[in-house]
């Protein structure tokens, strides 16, 4: 795909940033399970925390394609920093921009975009995963407050977030029509965090449980209208899938970068490894699949930018990019052999990080259902 000059320049710029400033930190973030606050600050300075948000709200005033390119390039060197960027932008910033009123935007959106606050998104619950409409967290209106009770799980950046968009139901019997979206701020009474998850990968990103116990939030923290929360979240996820597709692509490309670097230097029985046809076959296959994934991701982003429905395309982008990305990272280890199992090379980390891309923000199975429904009808 030929990117216009504007996008190429952006790509060069963000790639430089990722390679110079993020890449040297990646191994250590994974090892120490350290959240990169300094990188968040740096990305805020570079206006990377609100790439697709208009300048009037402090954003970069760019578009979804630039955003996808940024997540891809950051993910290419560090999955943990990539998932932070994707979650903060698509799940923290976007729903407030999309569904918030002006007052809410000035209160929450601007500090999020400026990186003064960290954003997060609470949808998943212990018993509401793929079945997101099964939300059991409840909201009860009492005077000027909503009283919230319930537990959210697997929330990216949960325990470090300052502003959390979440769903709760006012009437479980109404299914998804009973669900509304709200915002809770860190420090609100009755709102606390459970433990952080100990995960296979993305260990430099925080995943937490959120606990609401008679948590009272002011009425004006309702995002959109009552009963329309599910719609807000589905719209959010349609866009979020583009960024997870971009991240899956980036991690896969990171593995391919490592393979290329290794194969160009390595020898087997005195012969350059790059001349080995077994290797050539694997590399060609991975490279072709990742290139196809890139087309799907960029296409979904462009559709969103021009305002054409992109539900099917974003689901395809995430489904395919995570699938071929998983394959690429897995094959990377098969090319590196035992050396690749150690932390001297980044490939085992890429494989651990990539597995989440087939799960988070809608599993591959859910993506296939979305795609099939778009093609076959409900």
């Amino acid at each position: 795909m030929i990117l216009s000059k504007r996008y190429q320049e952006f790509q060069d710029w963000v790639r430089q940033f990722a390679r110079k400033e993020v890449a040297p930190r990646a191994k250590e973030l994974d090892k120490k399970e350290e959240f990169p606050r300094d990188l968040v600050k740096r990305m805020a300075e570079l206006k990377m925390l609100g790439i697709f948000i208009p300048e009037e709200y402090g954003g970069a005033g760019l578009d979804t394609l630039c955003y996808a390119i940024a997540v891809e390039e950051v993910g290419r060197v560090c999955g943990s920093t990539g998932i932070f960027l994707a979650a903060h932008s698509s799940l923290g910033v976007f729903p407030i921009y999309h569904a918030g009123d002006e007052k809410q935007k000035s209160r929450w959106l601007i500090p999020l975009v400026k990186g003064e606050k960290i954003g997060s998104f609470g949808l998943t619950e212990p018993n509401a995963g793929s079945d997101a409409a099964a939300t059991r967290t409840t909201a009860r209106l009492e005077g000027d407050f909503y009283v919230i009770n319930g537990i959210k799980r697997f929330i990216t950046s949960g325990s470090i977030a300052d502003i959390i968009v979440f769903t709760a139901t006012q009437d479980p019997s109404k299914g998804h029509r009973g669900i509304s979206a709200f915002v809770v701020e860190k420090g609100t009474r009755g709102f606390s965090y459970g433990r952080n998850e100990d995960k296979l990968g993305l260990r430099g990103s925080i995943t937490s449980e959120l606990i609401f116990e008679d948590c009272r939030i002011p009425k004006e923290n309702l995002l959109g209208k009552e009963g329309e929360g599910f719609k807000v979240f589905m719209d959010t996820l349609d866009g979020g899938r583009i960024s997870i597709g971009a991240l899956a692509l980036g991690i896969g490309e990171g593995a391919l970068d490592a393979i290329i670097n290794f194969v160009q230097q390595a020898q087997e029985s005195g012969q350059p490894l790059k001349k080995n046809q077994w290797i050539q076959s694997m590399v060609a296959e991975i490279a072709t699949e990742l290139e196809s994934a890139r087309l799907l991701v960029y296409q979904a982003a462009q559709l969103k930018d021009v305002g054409i429905p992109f539900i099917k395309e974003s689901a395809m982008a995430k489904y395919y990019a995570s699938k071929v990305g998983m394959k690429a990272t897995s094959i990377a280890l098969e090319i590196f052999g035992a050396d690749g199992l150690t932390d001297e090379y980044p490939v085992e980390r890429f494989m651990r990080d990539e597995k989440l891309m087939e799960i988070g923000e809608g599993t591959s199975e859910i993506q296939k259902i979305v795609i099939a429904r778009q093609i076959l009808g409900k």
Binding site: E197, D198, L333, I335, G337, L341, T342, E348, K355
Partner: protein
Amino acid sequence: MGLIIFNDEQTLIQNEVKKFVKDKLSPIADEIDKKEKFPEEIITTLTELGLMTIMVPEDYKGAGLDCTSLCIAAEELSKECASIGLVMVVNNCLVGYALSRYGTQFQKTQYLNSLSDGVIGGYGFCPEINNPERLLKSEKKGGNFVLSRGNGFILNGAVAEFILFSNFQEKKFLLFPKQAGLKLKNQYILGMRSAGIVRFEFNQIEVPETSSFSFDNKVFDLAYIGFSAVGLGIARAALDSAIKYAKERKQFGRPICEFPMVQELITKMKIAVETSRLLVYESAKCFDNNEDSSLIANITRVYVTETAVLCGLNAIQVYGGYGYTKDYPVERYLRDAKTLQVLLGQPYLAKSLIAKEILL
């Protein structure tokens, strides 16, 4: 499945190992994995049960059993804890069998005999595909092999008292006690984290030629079959976990096992596991019948370790977000499986051996 038929002795071994796993290993398997340390106590018990020397000839105080028995034990142990299965397979195949098949009388008396007393042997190797500066540099000087450079791994290295090092350049196994000049590192490794795998660098080490012996592919045929039995254990564990979870976990008002997309994930695992079982025991039978087992061992190694990886990936997928956490064992199955798949060499090397056998 009627193709795999165990004789009385093998059935006895299976029952014994199953009982040991249930009574002794299961209660602490989780702890062993969490600690990521070589489980010395369990290995001592395995020695007492004769499993660490299951294939060592009776003349050298071993159990003198066959490859099928080894696979039965490896499969059952690995279903609970793949690291333990691997330790046992390495000790039997790459140390015990190598010594008994190729070693001199002195080496056998000295080293092979000691295994049944609880001495653990290590298997060392340097990966042969890398940047030339990292590859093994070995020269013959006087009556010695001089190893002046090389980055490698020692399986069972954390506790091994002696090491069999495969010098592929010279087609020789070098036998030496843990000694100076061998820089050992406890480096991070993706999986098999309780198996005591250590990294080493050679720093000018000399091994007398008299401490070396030649080998052929037989020892690796056996090792690949043993590794595959470990992979089969991991794959079965992943399959069992996925089945159990899919029946328990409810979404959209019903157990997720009722959804065809989940069924597809699990049936793929099941088909590959059943096929893998046939391959493992078919290749073990070939080996035991003294047939040329090179082709079947390589086929088995490629297919079964790939199956283990597939099962690890699919089990995590069935568990969803939960599977990505360390609260459940499925993420470990993936890490162990992937480690097993590439530890002894790139899978394409095995495929090229298969191609050589059937085409060239």
